[in-house]
């Protein structure tokens, strides 16, 4: 497209190249029978978890969540899972799909062949079926003080804190976390050492540390720079691979390690140094 927009738009009666495919076939898309193998567990009645199979007639373009919703509505009302937005922003519907942590609203059936195995998110206790207890994550989120601790308080009447687009870009990526906990399910270190604060919470600490308006890094370091904090991370990078919001927690944790090291050098090697 040229930079100066045309006065009147080109007619689209004959859709442009590429659009034809996107408009699809009038009269509906193709159907496919999908086999789901879903972990079931009800602490009221079950001594251990089991798998249950469902055969579901699906539209080719559906996501795994659509298939689960069809099971729930038409086949088995007793199946339990969380979901809400169906657009990968509320973070409710994380689960293991063929062993990988995924948002089920963002796991497209077209990418799967054969039986699809669905389990609750790894590394969290199961409440029931695909529903896990996020208490540990919620607790860790709070511990990193994920809120602005202003460098200088000023009243609302004095207007906004100035922040240039470049300053915004320093932390914006790290503010995109939807708290879906996929990174905790993917993190081998969290699996081994449950006291590890973990990728999402540490990234959120980093997000505020990097904010030009914030002066709270020292307070957050009390949690973030400990052996439960960034130093527990072994930089496997699984967190960034599974992140549906492209937050890249691994890079946040690397940056935090670097700044923590600089703190240490300043404190211990420079005479009179204060981090």
């Amino acid at each position: 497209m040229s930079n100066s927009p045309p006065r009147s738009h080109p007619p689209l009666a004959a859709p442009p190249e590429g659009a034809a495919a996107s408009l699809g076939r009038p009269g509906g898309s193709s159907e496919r029978t999908v086999t789901l193998e879903v972990l079931r567990y009800d602490p009221d009645t079950d001594s251990e978890a089991r798998f249950q199979r469902y055969e579901v007639v699906c539209q080719e373009e559906w996501v795994v969540l659509d298939a689960l919703n069809k099971v729930k509505a038409d086949i088995d009302p007793t199946l339990n899972y969380r979901w809400s937005c169906h657009m990968a922003v509320c973070g409710s519907c994380g689960m293991m799909i063929n062993g990988e942590p995924k948002l089920s609203c963002h796991a497209f059936l077209r990418n799967y062949e054969g039986v699809i195995r669905i389990e609750p998110l790894a590394n969290f206790p199961i409440e029931r079926d695909l529903v896990v207890a996020p208490d540990d994550f919620m607790d860790k989120l709070k511990r990193v003080k994920p809120y602005l601790i202003p460098k200088q308080e000023k009243p609302i009447s004095e207007g906004e804190y100035k922040q240039t687009p470049a300053q915004l870009m320093k932390y914006r990526q790290y503010s995109m976390c939807i708290n879906c906990m996929l990174c905790y399910a993917a993190c081998p270190q969290y699996g081994l050492t449950p006291s590890f604060i973990g990728p999402a919470a540490l990234t959120l600490a980093h997000r505020y540390n990097q904010d030009s308006r914030d002066g709270g890094r020292k307070e957050r370091q009390e949690v973030a720079a400990t052996h439960e904090g960034v130093w527990e991370c072994t930089f496997v990078g699984a967190c960034s691979e599974v992140c549906p919001a492209h937050v890249d927690p691994a890079s946040a944790l690397q940056q935090m390690k670097i700044t923590s090291s600089i703190d240490w050098i300043v404190e211990h090697l420079i005479p009179g140094g204060k981090p």
């Binding site: 497209m1 927009p5 006065r7 009147s8 738009h9 080109p10 007619p11 689209l12 442009p16 590429g18 495919a21 408009l23 699809g24 076939r25 009038p26 009269g27 509906g28 009800d42 602490p43 009221d44 009645t45 373009e61 729930k72 038409d74 009302p77 007793t78 339990n80 899972y81 969380r82 809400s84 937005c85 169906h86 657009m87 990968a88 922003v89 509320c90 973070g91 409710s92 963002h106 497209f108 409440e127 029931r128 529903v131 919620m138 989120l141 003080k145 994920p146 809120y147 602005l148 609302i156 906004e160 240039t164 687009p165 915004l168 914006r172 503010s175 995109m176 939807i178 708290n179 904010d211």
Partner: protein, 585 residues
């Protein structure tokens, strides 16, 4: 049943509930605050709002202009004292969010950026890319973690308000993890439970938007106001209903029919403006009701594009270029690519109108108080009469903040000089909830499936209470919803487990939606005029003589509800003509 005694209980932990909780904690740190929600706060549907939040901040803008845009956009059904309060509070609330760390987009000089939005005469919509609601919600949630006096009850499903001595004194709720009922004794209750868009089959709303807060207040005797006004957002993805923000058009995207014609010019929103140079308050920046109605007319004329997902028009953003799209509309690009396989940089995306927002809700005054003493409401579940007959995009995110805070202040005022609670009476009320749940679990004569009833409700709403309505269709809708409410008493609960029983919650949510649907249908049938989002093919004109007033619907058990009316508050803007011609008239 365990009793939790608190000072103020809030139902709903989205934008309005969190803002209320923070205001309570800041105003009086000694107050005990119970924040109750059926989901973890970050899951609340505020997260799905994309475009932004309106507040006068730039030197070329004025409060009067925001007032006029809102009142005209609402087709003069807004209470003007409410609008006046709102526009003055809006910038303060948005600045407050900035001080709490919200990552608003910025100008080169470090000041906040604003973007154009539908029906607004000036650029005044603050935004954080196209994830504004997400950032507002997370900023509020994270800020709320600072306050030890806010006790959260995450994944508690609220059931009934406890009303005694003519005032609201708490509620019952079920801990979803254990299935155990709890009663919360509170001196004030704030409902911030969101809208009810899931009554309709095709909606931008998340699964949780089932009108539980509205229905709970309605059943307790508080009236629902103006429920017939249901907003269709003009641009939803045709398969999933996912929202493509109005900012698509604010940034310069255009709507074309199958002939490539920018058809909005044929429906009072022209003349055509240059492509890629959006002009405020005309063409693609018309208000949502008018733009959605234009789609309906194009459909009647056979001007829509047939796709595998049904009839659509095209939203074309190709001329914006990849750089601008990535910077300002990254989520839109992702959504269209993922769910439809369309890259908006290279192709026009098929879209159609989709149910988005309830203008109506629990009737409140400008102080966010309902007619039931001790009960307050804010956000989409409330009808404070800011939005009138049609909400302007980017007013509702600010509404959450302004009236969430206002509800908190009113709830505190209510604490003064209250007589002590009669706990025996409250326990008896709570026992009624217990009996209701017990009956559901032990019901042996169930014949109706939850999903079957839900489908019939959704189909009825879509068929009879859509963008354009008729007497015959609305009568059919009223009768059908009445019938479904009767049949609902025989709904089957299949799952009898006490642990995270989503079959149970879906049954309860269906009950909430049927109550809301009743108020929508009877309100729509009774309003024999066309105004804003309520369009009647048999009464095509606005009728200020008979209907410049709010519909008030009162619950009457299993009988048909009672309808009353309340005059609109007009302070300075008498009903006039809505002009979206771009100053050409």
């Amino acid at each position: 049943m365990e009793t939790i005694t608190t000072d103020i209980a809030i139902v709903g932990a989205g934008g309005a509930g969190l803002r209320a909780a923070i205001a309570l904690a800041e105003t009086n740190p000694a107050l005990r605050i119970a924040l109750i929600s059926k989901v973890y706060p970050m899951r609340s549907h505020t997260c799905a709002a994309e475009g932004g939040a309106a507040g006068v901040i730039k030197p070329d803008d004025s409060f009067d202009m925001h007032f006029d845009d809102t009142v005209g956009g609402g087709d003069w059904l807004s209470d003007q004292d409410c609008v006046e309060y709102f526009i003055h509070e809006a910038p303060k609330e948005l600045l407050q969010l900035e001080h709490w760390g919200c990552p608003w987009n910025r100008e080169a000089d470090g000041s906040v950026s604003v973007r154009p939005f539908g029906g607004m005469k000036k650029k005044r919509t603050w935004f954080a890319a196209d994830k504004s609601g997400f950032h507002i919600l997370h900023t509020l949630f994270q800020t709320s973690l600072k306050f030890p006096s806010i006790t959260r009850y995450d994944e508690y499903y609220a059931l009934d308000l406890l009303v005694d001595d003519g005032r609201c004194q708490g509620l019952t709720a079920m801990e979803m993890r254990s299935g155990e009922l709890r009663q919360f004794h509170a001196k004030s209750v704030i409902i911030a439970g969101g809208g009810a868009g899931r009554m309709f089959p095709f909606s931008t709303n998340g699964a949780i938007k089932t009108g539980d807060g509205m229905a709970m207040a309605y059943r307790a005797g508080a009236p629902l106001k103006d429920m017939e006004f249901v907003q269709y957002h003009p641009t939803g993805l045709p398969n999933t209903g996912s929202l493509l923000t109005e900012a698509c058009r604010g940034e310069g995207g255009i709507l074309v029919n199958k002939n490539g014609r920018r058809y909005l010019q044929d429906y009072g929103m022209g003349p055509e403006t240059p492509v890629g140079k959006p002009q405020l308050k005309t063409m693609e920046l018309g208000p949502r009701d008018r733009v959605s109605q234009a789609y309906w007319h194009e459909l009647q004329k056979g001007n829509t594009v047939t796709t595998q997902w049904g009839e659509c028009v095209l939203l074309d953003m190709r001329h914006l270029g990849e750089k601008m799209i990535n910077e300002r509309l990254p989520l839109v690009r992702e959504l269209a690519e993922a769910y439809l396989g369309v890259d908006i940089v290279r192709e026009a995306v098929p879209i159609r109108p989709v149910v988005h927002y309830m203008m109506g809700g629990i009737s409140t005054n400008t102080a966010a108080a309902t007619p039931l003493p001790g009960l307050f409401a804010a956000g989409e579940c409330a009808c404070v009469s800011l939005n009138g007959a049609n909400r302007l995009g980017s007013n509702s995110l600010v509404e959450l903040l302004v009236f969430g805070r206002r509800a908190a202040l009113s709830a505190i005022e209510h604490l003064q000089d209250l007589p002590p609670a009669n706990t025996v009476a409250l326990n008896a009320r709570a026992g009624e909830t217990q009996a209701r749940i017990d009956e559901l679990f032990s019901r042996s004569d169930g014949t109706e499936s939850m999903s079957g009833l839900r489908k019939e409700m959704m189909d009825t709403m879509e068929k009879n209470v859509g963008i354009y309505r008729t007497e015959a269709g609305l009568k059919e809708g009223v009768d059908k919803i009445h019938e479904l409410r009767q049949r609902y008493r025989r709904v089957i609960l299949t799952d009898k487990s006490s642990v995270f029983n989503t079959d149970l919650f879906q049954v309860l949510e269906l009950g909430s939606m049927l109550d809301c649907a009743e108020a929508v249908t009877v309100g729509a049938l009774a309003r024999k005029e066309s105004r804003g989002a309520h369009q009647r093919l048999d009464f095509v004109e606005r009728d200020d003589t008979n209907y410049l007033r709010h519909t008030m619907v009162y619950h009457q058990g299993m009988d048909s509800p009672r309808i009353d009316y309340l005059d609109v508050v007009i302070t300075k803007s008498p009903p006039g003509v809505r002009d979206y011609s771009g100053d050409h008239k």
